[in-house]
């Protein structure tokens, strides 16, 4: 993970550039940009377990949707609820769900893990689709968006596209920072080590099950964070938010962006949703077929994801610098 410092620098630059977007772009693009950022956040959250942990989960939509439903269910109809308590509550609900589902699913391996997570995800989907908890299959409106206010003073107006876009951007930037730190930390290295060679990781003394459960919980919480803001943006929650179709879509974004980096899935989400928009306009009847073809080509031609194009242009991001001695040797060489 020697390229992570460069990745962090590049991500910081990109986020600064994105923060300037409201100066130039009309509201429609800001809304689209916020959607990309939030779906990208869900994909980044998923990638913590898929790319770094080697655990292919098909229930992350459930964590995404659960946070949205939590907000919808606690939001009063005519006055705004404060973000300061609805956000922790919604993210907490997703984290608890991830902890429970992870605790059971992580006892299985490989394709069984995929099937078990799929089953748990669908259970939560049907919980909202087939009962009257929140409007059943019709979904449920959030009539009043939560407010970001302190002592009656509105800090950011989430009803305005610019305010919402910048809030989403700040949230995604903070989550990216968290994920960059986490994957570089001893915890993140242990998670990756268990993926690369579980037997060796355990023999060394790493508590692999607990490490994976912690990662799965953090991942579910971050997916919930994305789902919370997505439901704020659209003012509406529906069971489809929790369905396996969305789980699979963000998995495709993870693969499109490249599994090896924190920010790759964000690039994958931008590529996927951008392409979807373009193809919908160009081929209103056959856009899905065209999108599938492009995804297939990317996976076949760019196994490292669309980031490989950027790597080709800017030099590799994931180049590993040899540790210790060679660096000293290089310094010696420049001194001579």
């Amino acid at each position: 993970m020697g390229g992570s410092r460069r990745e962090a620098a590049l991500a910081a630059l990109t986020f600064v550039a994105l923060a300037l977007l409201p100066l130039a772009a009309p509201a429609y693009y800001l809304q689209f940009g916020a959607k990309v950022l939030l779906v990208g956040l869900a994909a980044m959250a998923l990638n913590l377990v898929v790319g770094f942990g080697g655990l292919v989960s098909l229930c992350h939509a459930a964590f995404y949707g659960l946070a949205g439903y939590t907000l919808a269910l606690v939001s009063p109809r005519y006055e705004a609820a404060s973000l300061f308590w609805t956000l922790p509550l919604a993210v907490g609900a997703s984290a608890v769900a991830a902890l429970l589902i992870g605790a059971l699913s992580l006892r299985t391996r490989g394709v069984y893990f995929i099937m078990v997570t799929l089953a748990f995800g669908q259970m939560l989907f049907y919980l909202f689709a087939d009962t009257d908890i929140a409007g059943g299959s019709d979904g449920f409106y959030i009539y009043t968006r939560p407010e970001l206010a302190l002592g009656g003073l509105t800090l950011v107006d989430l009803d305005k596209p610019t305010g919402f876009y910048l809030t989403a951007l700040a949230t995604v930037a903070l989550a990216t920072l968290l994920l960059l730190r986490l994957t570089r930390s001893p915890f993140g290295q242990a998670l990756a080590a268990a993926h690369e060679n579980e037997r060796r990781a355990r023999a060394l003394g790493f508590p692999v099950y607990r490490i994976r459960l912690a990662a799965f919980t953090v991942s579910g919480a971050l997916a919930g964070l994305a789902g919370y803001f997505a439901s704020v943006q659209f003012g509406y929650v529906a069971p489809q938010m929790l369905g396996w179709h969305f789980s699979a879509t963000i998995l495709v974004m993870v693969v499109l962006g490249g599994l090896g980096s924190v920010t790759g899935p964000l690039v994958g989400a931008a590529a996927f949703l951008g392409l979807e928009e373009v193809l919908k306009a160009a081929l209103p009847d056959h856009w899905a077929l065209a999108l599938g073809t492009v995804i297939l080509l990317v996976v076949l031609l760019l196994p490292g994801g669309v980031r490989q194009l950027a790597d080709a242009a800017l030099g590799p991001l994931s180049r590993e610098r040899p540790p210790g001695k060679p660096l000293a040797a290089a310094e010696g060489a420049t001194g001579a």
């Binding site: 001893p186 023999a203 003394g205 540790p323």
Partner: protein, 253 residues
């Protein structure tokens, strides 16, 4: 005689109808190399897997550092001071040799799972990783990607990783398998140094190495211990000559 660092009492392991290990007892003491030999299928690898926690015994007791470890997981035994190598080299092939050793050193660190510090900037961990590579004679190869090292170097690396966890007990499963003469000589010298302050269990087919290194020898056949004691005495044991060394004589003939 020092207290055993690892004690196995009447260990048995049954796979369906097969009794792989039957009523095996042995004690590993600090600063001793305890070799286990026996023909193929004698239950040596099963025994090592029982001691490391990769397999659970059907019956019997395992004590590690004076405490009952019979039902502990491999990772709990790892943290309790047990390190092992596998018959098939078990490393992180895509990382550098140093990164492999660093992960091992990290596992023994009080901050083994810290979520917010930088993993590669822990000086104590880095120092322990380098010391382990140096002890295993691999310091000059620290920057090489582990998967590109020679077979012998990969086995050295596996031992360096075990050393970086600061074990009190080391289990080695056929460390010389597949090595050329030069590599084997280096590995034999390394194993000889490992026992300083540590208890070592050595499962090995190379008889020259075993009789060079072993302080205590256990001979197994059909899952049972047929002789145990000082190598010279065990060598002369009639049952051993019949059951094991006899096989070698047959093979040579």
């Amino acid at each position: 005689m020092p207290e055993p660092a690892l004690l196995a009492e009447s260990l048995s392991k049954r796979f369906g109808g097969l009794q792989a290990v039957a009523d095996v007892s042995l004690a590993l003491r600090p600063s001793e190399i305890h070799a286990v030999i026996g023909p193929n299928g004698a239950g040596k690898s099963t025994l090592i897997n029982l001691l490391s926690g990769d397999l659970r015994p059907s019956a019997g007791l395992i004590r590690l550092g004076g405490r009952d470890a019979t039902s502990l997981s491999p990772e709990a035994r790892g943290r309790a001071g047990l390190g092992r190598s596998y018959q098939k080299t078990t490393i992180f092939p895509r990382r550098s040799a140093f990164a492999n050793a660093r992960l091992a050193a990290q596992a023994r660190s009080p901050r083994a799972l810290a979520p917010f510090r930088s993993a590669d900037r822990d000086d104590a961990v880095n120092a322990r990783a380098r010391a382990a590579l140096a002890e295993a004679g691999l310091l000059d190869r620290e920057a090489a990607i582990a998967g590109t090292l020679s077979h012998g170097e990969q086995r050295q690396l596996e031992i360096a990783m075990v050393l970086a966890t600061e074990p009190t007990v080391i289990l080695l499963d056929e460390p010389l398998a597949g090595m050329g003469h030069g590599e084997a000589q280096r590995m034999i010298a390394l194993i000889g140094r490992l026992k300083a302050g540590r208890a070592v269990l050595l499962v090995e087919h190379d008889m020259d190495a075993v009789f060079t290194l072993a302080d205590v020898l256990t001979v197994m056949a059909d899952g049972r211990v047929i002789a145990q004691g000082e190598p010279a005495a065990v060598r002369a044991h009639p049952a051993v000559r019949a059951a094991y060394l006899g096989h070698e004589a047959d093979a040579a003939a």
